[in-house]
Symmetry: C2
Subunit: 191 residues, 2 copies
Amino acid sequence: MQNILFDFISRYVDLNEDEKNALIELDIFKSFKKGTVLLEQGQKSSDGYFVLEGCLRTYYVIDGEEKTTAFYTELEGITPHCVLTKEPSEYYVTCVEDCILSVANPDMEVEIFTKFPKFEKMCMVLSEELLVKQQIDFDAFKTSSPEQRYLNLLEKRPDLIQRVPQHQLASFLGITPQSLSRLRARLQKKR
Amino acid sequence: MQNILFDFISRYVDLNEDEKNALIELDIFKSFKKGTVLLEQGQKSSDGYFVLEGCLRTYYVIDGEEKTTAFYTELEGITPHCVLTKEPSEYYVTCVEDCILSVANPDMEVEIFTKFPKFEKMCMVLSEELLVKQQIDFDAFKTSSPEQRYLNLLEKRPDLIQRVPQHQLASFLGITPQSLSRLRARLQKKR
DNA sequence: TTCATTTCTTAACTTAAGTTAACTTCTTAC
DNA sequence: GTAAGAAGTTAACTTAAGTTAAGAAATGAA
């Protein structure tokens, strides 16, 4: 299981055996059952997650309705805002599927960054990449209609459409489940 | 003019006179006329901008239509994607107003980071803050209607509504200029 | 397996956004 | 100051999303 993580890291920095062992000793690999709530609205936390296997979902509860805003799948990481702001979380984080995650908190980061500064460099590159990716996603969302967003999702993350319930996808696309259902029927008819 | 920048920086790190002088010597303060195009779609660039005075706008041209995706005002910075990806830019960057900007490229960053490592730390904190802010903005956009987005903008960035043309605000809100006009008329009637 | 719950779909109706076009108002360059 | 172009508003019409509700399908727990 570590290998998935090491392969990912090796895209950014080379690890020697010492470094690999240091990571393993942190004992950061954890399994979670589908449906597990990792973080609740209103709760404080200092844990970040990196997905080795499975799928995480973030959602708000607004007027009693779940509003899904993001999914995180293999090789994607999430640092909830509340980890950075130290305020209670505005949203939930849950497992859409059974998950294997690497869980880390800032203390562990400090420890590993001190021992192996190259990890800090890697994190900088990662967060830079993330910022670009997110801005582009936001731009694409703003400049497209719900139908275009759905088609774009089909193209860019077809796996999500298979593994995630429709009503969660719907709010991720910024529409209601009924609208998504209709939209799909409309597209089906077209072809 | 430097003082605006120094005051901003002092929120994050303390600067001594040497460091201030080093910054001034980089000669990064530039003035631009309203309407100036700083970056064109399809063009490569390595310049990032920090707004000391004025307002920048990023927009795509899709099917011959301008789609505005972001505004940057006092004390906000923008590093166009193409600076990081080294690919031609997907969007334009222009001055909505006369601007005083601090312009920096990666070479200058390397130079200043080498001399004064504390700047690197500051940039990490800044980009972390930015990532959080952007994620929250995206979440708010996804989970609201055009009307709610407009009301939210009125509350959070009332200055933008004054200083930016409506048709640019409209696509920033993800709607057409006509819809924004109607939406405003609708709200006016309500009160 | 069965029963309860959740999810998905469909439909009818309401509301608002997109589109096209005409007209007014505002800018700005000459 | 005037004329040309850009920006903003309004209206009529089209399209699609929100809402409410009902029923079908799928899921999961006992």
